[in-house]
């Protein structure tokens, strides 16, 4: 997809004025965080598990070459194949190659954000292979020609009336006046449509939440079971995974799985956790005859050894999105690319460049909730600050902002001047603000006052009150 991250401000502005989106975001803000808190309260060991999970991921990152080689060796030993891909283009070509070799016309897909990252669907379609998304949310955004707005809840930006409208427009073989006012009914309709696709697909593509070095397995978690029908029924199973997903053993994966669902949806465990190892065995009566792992770098190895290395611990649970006031206000599409929320604000500039995505690290109030809920304790606010510094150093931020910061820095470095300016400003504002104590509009800060009042200072600054007090005593 063509990123629009550089337009974050305009995107966010549009999002704030979109009534459907705002209704949908209201539902999200009240759902996930409450469920997460309840699940964690039930597990006294949660924080200790977090520390263990972090240690596992750090250990893997420090020995990533060993674990990837071990993983590959064991995939091959089980009869599968690993395809190493440097970038999106190479991964797309590799997958198309596998489809062509199998003579595939349709592929079903389990939800995969890496597939969004490499824009796989458009590419397959342009080359005569029809991709069908099977996760309900992902299917909805596919038929609407949209992209997912949330890494685990792709259609969280929509209200049910919008889904119903898209179903009527797409499922034209059904009576146009059928009732579609309940999630239950729409889910049944999608189930019937997609069941036929599952049964006729030539290849199934899934992502991976974890890759296991010990056994050469891939793991996916879903609630719907779509990932299972996707990989079980067709002739071949392609796993598309970024390389930092590898973990040493089944035990290590089990520890991380205890953190994943609780952090994501507040479930104790996802409905389906599926461990897939190689193709079907000689005497199996079902399962795919071929198993391919497309192992993607696409900028990850460049994070090693730098200040964003800890981002490679991310297990894509979306807790940071679910708890972010900025994400909660504008939704995921405003971020303009695949990953949104705090993890997206850090990852996107790393993957598509700061020139395009330099705006995203500014989409933060620095409230720190993202870091506090992150099961991997990734210092997301610190990383966003680093990106802001880089953006400033590379003169990518707007001229007015740079001048403003330069003026502020000049004043802030001169304490007497700073005190004088702040005392004068608060004095003037308190006079102008008068008895009402707030401003409806103020020059230069319309972004603030358009939607709320600016409180007026009550009079003298803290520093001047302190000085007066010192003098009195």
């Amino acid at each position: 997809m063509q990123p629009t991250s550089h337009d974050f401000k305009a995107n966010a502005h549009r999002a704030l004025g979109d009534p459907n989106l705002q209704r949908a975001m209201d539902m999200m803000r009240t759902g996930f965080p409450v469920n997460r808190a309840a699940a964690i309260a039930r597990l006294p060991e949660f924080d200790a598990l977090r520390d263990e999970g972090i240690a596992i991921k750090n250990h893997v990152i420090a020995n990533l070459d060993f674990y990837l080689e071990t993983f590959e060796k064991n995939v091959v030993a089980q009869g599968g194949k690993v395809h190493w891909c440097r970038d999106a283009a190479q991964a797309r070509e590799t997958i198309l190659g596998i489809c062509r070799d199998a003579g595939a016309k349709t592929v079903t897909k389990g939800k995969s954000m890496v597939s969004e990252e490499i824009a796989l669907n458009d590419y397959l379609e342009a080359n005569g292979v029809t991709p069908v998304e099977t996760d309900l949310g992902e299917y909805i955004v596919q038929i609407r020609h949209e992209t997912p707005s949330h890494i685990i809840a792709p259609a969280v930006h929509l209200v049910k009336e919008q889904v119903a409208e898209s179903f009527r427009a797409t499922h034209t073989h059904l009576p146009p006046d059928r009732p579609l006012d309940e999630a239950r009914v729409m889910c049944d309709e999608a189930r019937t449509v997609l069941r036929a696709k599952f049964l006729s697909a030539d290849i199934g593509i899934t992502g991976a939440n974890f890759l296991i070095a010990e056994t050469g397995s891939s793991i996916i978690v879903t609630n719907e079971g779509n990932g299972d029908l996707t990989q079980t029924l067709p002739k071949a199973h392609i796993v598309l995974a970024s390389l930092e997903k590898v973990v040493p053993t089944l035990e290590d994966a089990s520890t991380l799985l205890r953190l994943l669902a609780r952090s994501a949806t507040g479930q104790e465990f996802s409905t389906y956790t599926t461990v897939s190892t190689g193709p079907r065995r000689a005497d199996d009566t079902d399962g795919p005859a071929a198993y391919h792992v497309v192992l993607l770098d696409n900028g990850r190895t460049a994070l090693l050894g730098g200040e964003f290395q800890d981002m490679l611990r991310c297990i894509r649970c979306a807790a940071c999105l679910n708890h972010c006031p900025v994400y909660g206000a504008v939704g995921g599409h405003a971020y303009g690319w695949v990953y949104s929320g705090p993890m997206g604000a850090v990852l996107t500039p790393s993957l598509i460049g700061i020139e395009e995505a330099g705006n995203l690290p500014n989409a933060s109030t620095f409230c720190g909730r993202c870091e506090s809920v992150c099961p991997m304790r990734i210092p997301l606010p610190r990383m966003m600050r680093s990106w802001r510094e880089r953006e400033f150093a590379r003169r990518l931020s707007p001229q007015a902002q740079r001048w403003g910061l330069a003026v502020w820095a000049y004043v802030a470095r001169r304490p007497r001047l700073y005190r004088w300016v702040s005392a004068m400003t608060s004095h003037i504002l308190s006079l102008v603000g008068g008895t009402r104590g707030r401003f409806r509009t103020l020059p230069l800060v319309a972004g603030w006052t358009d939607t709320r009042d600016m409180p007026a200072p009550e009079g003298r600054s803290f520093m001047s009150q302190w000085a007066a007090r010192e003098k009195r005593s």
């Binding site: 889910c187 299972d228 956790t273 897939s276």
Partner: protein
């Protein structure tokens, strides 16, 4: 492709600021994989006795909308299945995996059940399978694929009935892995299943039966209690 592989491994080493790992380091890592040491296991299930684990399994699975019939004898299983299907107004025709773990169930005790053994088709409304283990910690069944246990039977039928023996209930996923390793090679597929299929993708309203089964019914043979 091997060029790409070397490039990627090269950038990993460059990023980490080191060359290839030395022999000692590699052997320590190989040991870590081979011994697959357990990490912290929550006390929730591990601290209970076996009967406590069975009760916890039932409570946790019911929380995620699995349903149960608890019987004390394998002879009662066919009746339990027949009663469940009748109670739900479901057809008595079912597809059953040819799993030897189901062989000692006297299916002829419920003559109204129309059982065919084999792989499930799209129009099979009810499926019966055995399982590998049941994890008390989160109410999670563990099923493995094999010649007698095709994976699709866990997903295609609208109603999935699992026959579980008390002795198969374990505390943790790790206990399940140990039992699997004891059996030998890794199967193609291991399915951890907690309740019936569901989605929250439309306005986060939970709907059961997204793509997999709408109902998950577990017949628990509680022979330890008998």
């Amino acid at each position: 492709m091997s060029g790409t592989r070397d490039q990627i491994l090269g950038s990993i080493r460059a990023g980490l600021g080191r060359g290839r790992l030395d022999v000692q380091a590699i052997s320590a890592l190989e040991d870590r994989v081979r011994t697959h040491r357990r990490n912290l296991i929550p006390a929730r299930a591990a601290a209970l006795d076996h009967q406590g684990q069975i009760d916890l399994f039932v409570a946790m699975a019911e929380e995620v909308h699995a349903t149960f019939t608890r019987v004390t004898d394998v002879d009662a299983v066919p009746g339990a299945v027949a009663d469940y299907l009748a109670g739900q107004n479901l057809p008595a025709r079912l597809v059953m995996t040819p799993d030897p773990k189901l062989d000692d169930v006297p299916w002829d005790k419920a003559p109204l059940l129309d059982i065919h053994k084999g792989i499930a088709a799209d129009d099979d409304a009810v499926g019966v399978t055995a399982c590998h283990a049941a994890v008390a910690e989160t109410g999670t069944l563990m099923l493995v694929s094999g010649p007698d246990s095709p994976t699709r039977n866990n997903f295609l039928p609208d109603t999935h009935i699992v026959v579980l023996r008390a002795g198969q209930v374990v505390a943790s996923y790790e206990d399940g892995w140990d039992r699997l390793r004891a059996k030998g090679a890794m199967p193609r597929t291991v399915n951890f299943i907690s309740g019936p299929s569901r989605t929250g993708d439309i306005e986060q309203r939970m709907v059961l039966g997204a793509h997999g089964p709408r109902r998950l019914h577990i017949v628990l043979i509680d022979d330890a209690r008998a």
